[in-house]
């Protein structure tokens, strides 16, 4: 590969000598974040998340009708079959229709419902094809929900433990508080966009947590290094310096992850685009919270306490 000329990069996000005083805006940052998170919690309480099939239970049938979907006709046919449709909705092409039923009381009833929906579609618009059927009984949905929350909770605890182990408790605690704030905002985003909250969304949230932690670890890593290097620099200046030094990296990585998720949001199809939009939102939130939340929290908690020069700077 030595034959390729050593061409240089042509673009940079910020100049290397950038020294933005992020910590000046620490209270504004924390206040904005707290306000957004409180608003999200309010939204979570009312109107609340739109639970997807995985967690609510029930039946979803997706069909490609012969000719444009006739929702009125479908509704009549479903009513005639004795099924209460919670929603009949067209999406994508004119002949794609999604029928959603509220959860039935028991496993057997759930199964009976979906058979009725199929025959009702066939009655209303003969020649239609069923693209997808999901039927989740009440016991399964409760279990999936429990496992989803468990995965979230345990992940947060393990991240806390890992950062504590590798850094100091001030780092771990401020990271996890920031993650919880990120999490609430993501939930708020879900409520506003009305994306369905299902297993795939739990996966998206966990991925966001993983990404966001990764971003904070890089900044913290630099803070720790600078703590050893500049023994007398005030913590506030030191944190600002660390953020600025890692700013090109922070922006670079968030851009590549953003670029990777963007095509999914645009071309990923109905099942993945919601997931990808939430990811995109999470990338923006996670990146900005590293700078505006995690760092100020570290400053508040660590002022005058963080260990300095545990070992002298390496001389080479």
């Amino acid at each position: 590969m030595a034959v390729i000329p050593a061409f240089r990069p042509v673009l940079r996000f910020v100049r290397d000598d950038t020294r933005i005083g992020f910590m000046k805006g620490r209270f504004a940052g924390l206040a904005t974040s707290a306000a957004l998170s409180i608003a999200s919690v309010v939204l979570f309480l009312h109107p609340g998340l739109k639970l997807g099939l995985d967690f609510s239970g029930g039946v979803t049938v997706e069909a490609r009708t012969a000719g444009p979907a006739d929702t009125a006709k479908l509704r009549t046919a479903l009513a005639a079959a004795g099924v209460q449709a919670a929603g009949i909705q067209r999406f994508g092409a004119a002949d794609d229709v999604l029928i959603r039923l509220d959860p039935a009381g028991s496993e057997a009833a759930t199964q009976a419902q979906q058979a009725k929906v199929k025959s009702a579609i066939e009655t209303a618009q003969p020649g239609s094809t069923i693209l997808r059927i999901d039927a989740v009984g009440p016991s399964v949905s409760a279990e999936l929900f429990r496992n989803g929350l468990l995965a979230l909770g345990i992940s947060l605890l393990m991240i806390l433990a890992y950062i504590w182990f590798r850094f100091e408790w001030e780092f771990a605690l401020s990271a996890v508080i920031t993650l919880v704030l990120d999490l609430t905002k993501t939930v708020g985003f879900l409520v506003i966009t009305r994306f369905e909250f299902d297993l795939v969304m739990v996966a998206a949230i966990l991925t966001i947590l993983g990404y966001s932690t990764n971003d904070k670890v890089v900044v913290y890593d630099r803070v720790r290094e600078n703590l050893r290097k500049y023994r007398s620099m005030p913590l506030r200046e030191l944190i600002d310096l660390s953020i600025n030094e890692t700013l090109n990296r922070t922006l670079g990585t968030s851009t590549t992850v953003f670029l990777a998720a963007l095509p999914l949001a645009l071309f990923g199809g109905e099942s993945l685009s919601g997931f990808a939009w939430v990811m995109l939102f999470g990338i923006v939130v996670g990146t900005s919270s590293s700078i505006f939340i995690a760092a100020p929290l570290l400053l508040l908690m660590g002022e005058g306490r963080l260990k300095r020069a545990a070992q002298p700077p390496k001389v080479r």
Binding site: E107, I130, L131, R132, A135, S155, D221, V257, A260, L262
Partner: protein
């Protein structure tokens, strides 16, 4: 730090080559059946098909056992000439209870029960209760063992029934203490399979009680069972099973020679044939009910002794229902009823759409990230791109090696891995640039860059790994696929960035010995 021994280089290139070789089976046909061939399976969401989650009704299993036990207790007491009152199965207490005819008979009652045969040692025990009644209680251990056995038996029978429908490549496995997962690739309308699995197919041959009236409450040991064709018509059938359908060796659908009606012809094994002959000999002229899942299919009058152990069931069958019943009888009865508690069916069109969407996203995302790296990191960015493509190859290689299932969320996981993977390169490059700005020489800057960045890379990847291992452990279905690809992706990322792109950069330096670095 800055040199790669020939051995190390060979190992790195060897690993890359191996990854490439492992990918091949996904793109070409297997040349001979004996060639080792492992490839990625497409998930049901990509190829179309159905996922069913079945729950074994363990409560029914215990109810069944208690019913048989009640029958057996009655028989043993009668055989010993002892009397009883209020003989009932008490599901809540996991026991059969009765009151002895007189308090003095309590001890002989207990002795008679102690002599009863048990399926496993200590399966049940009898004890007198303070109110003078006697409880025959099933042991929890024995029921647990029975439940476990029932689950594996159910899996076997489910497999036989599904195989008989001609389904291609079905996957059936146990999940948890009482569940069975069934994957049916290519079957997007699994109604027939569900109907087959929803039938317990417990067939028994029992005598009718000629003295009982269908209108009055039946005497003890007799139950009114509905006719299959006409649930309003009920027949008084004895609880005692004369011949069990489990002894069948064969069952075939066929048409009756005289009437042309559809019927099921069956053959018993030796033991069953003997019992069948004995019963028919002793009960000529009486009505004999064929009972399937507590419904009477037919109750013909025994016309003569049937010594051969083969016979015919007639009823109002259609070609399909006769074929299905024969299939169910051949496959055997389920030890307990199964309920479908989750179903996900995806038609082939939607699967094809998803593959297209996933592939387009993967392609576009890869190109965007690669262009970004070249624009922002120059030559070293190009090396990172090479490592990135290799990363994708290695991920596919490892997934093939495990014969993993690729789902749509799995493809999303791959794409995100690619976005995250260049982070390590970015960290290294930024670090080298900083060192250069501090006035280090090209060599020293590269050295310091690698060294300082490695710790950060490991820390940041370890936290991501934690989150996704959790997701893999607690996630289910498609989410597991997502977590799996990301977890594998993190490992391949560490390899491709810490070894491959570093080796390229070091190799470039060794060849050129430049004074300045293109950062």
């Amino acid at each position: 730090m800055m040199s790669f021994t020939p051995l190390k280089k060979a190992l790195i290139w060897g690993t890359c080559l191996l990854g490439l070789l492992l990918c091949i089976p996904n793109f070409v046909r297997q040349p001979t059946p004996s060639t080792p061939w492992r490839q990625i399976h497409l998930g049901l969401d990509l190829r179309g098909g159905s996922y069913l989650l079945l729950q074994v009704d363990l409560a029914a299993l215990e109810r069944d056992r208690l019913a048989t036990l009640t029958d057996n207790v009655r028989a043993s007491l009668l055989a010993a000439g002892l009397g009883y009152r209020n003989l009932t199965a008490d599901s809540a207490a996991h026991a059969v209870t009765f009151t002895p005819r007189s308090p003095e008979e309590s001890t002989p009652d207990l002795a008679a029960i102690a002599k009863m045969p048990r399926a496993v040692p200590g399966e049940f025990d009898a004890a007198a209760r303070p109110d003078g009644s006697i409880a025959v209680t099933l042991s929890g251990e024995a029921m647990k063992a029975r439940a476990h056995e029932a689950l594996s038996q159910s899996v076997e029978i489910v497999r036989r029934r599904i195989d008989a429908t001609g389904a291609v490549d079905p996957q059936i496995s146990v999940s948890g203490p009482d569940r069975i997962v069934v994957n049916l690739p290519g079957i997007s309308d699994p109604e027939r399979v569900k109907a087959l699995l929803g039938t317990t197919a417990k067939m028994t041959f029992r005598l009718l009680d000629p003295n009982a009236s269908p209108n009055a409450p039946p005497p003890p040991g007799v139950t009114l069972l509905p006719m299959q064709d006409n649930p309003n018509e009920k027949l008084p059938v004895r609880d005692h099973v004369d011949v069990d359908g489990g002894d069948l060796t064969n069952a075939q659908a066929g048409q009756d020679g005289q009437t042309g009606q559809w019927a099921v012809n069956f053959t018993f094994d030796n033991a069953g044939a003997r019992e069948f002959a004995d019963v028919t000999r002793a009960n000529l002229g009486k009505r004999f009910a064929i009972v399937l899942d507590n419904k009477v299919i037919s109750a013909p009058v025994i016309q003569g002794v049937i010594p051969s152990g083969s016979g015919q069931i007639t009823g109002s069958f259609t070609a399909q229902s006769a074929t299905d019943l024969a299939l169910l009888l051949r496959a055997g009865a389920l030890p307990a009823p199964l309920a479908v508690i989750e179903q996900r069916s995806i038609g082939p069109e939607l699967g094809a759409d998803s593959i297209r969407a996933g592939a387009i996203s993967l392609g576009v995302g890869l190109v965007l990230v690669m262009v970004f790296m070249v624009l922002f990191y120059g030559l070293f960015g190009l090396y990172a791109d090479f490592a990135l493509v290799l990363n994708l190859v290695l991920m596919l290689g490892i997934l093939s090696l495990f014969e993993a299932t690729l789902t749509l969320p799995g493809m999303a996981g791959m794409l995100l891995t690619l976005g995250m993977a260049v982070d390590a390169n970015i960290l290294i490059n930024e670090r080298i640039r900083e060192e250069v700005k501090r006035g280090r020489t090209a060599l020293a800057a590269m050295q310091a860059g690698f060294e300082r960045a490695t710790g950060t890379i490991i820390d940041s990847n370890a936290t991501a790994l934690l989150a996704h291992v959790m997701l893999f452990v607690f996630g289910s279905g498609p989410v597991k696929g997502f977590a799996l690809t990301i977890t594998i992706g993190i490992v391949t990322t560490l390899f491709t960035t810490l070894f491959v792109s570093k080796m390229l950069m070091v190799g470039w330096y060794a060849a050129k010995r430049p004074k300045t670095l293109p950062v």
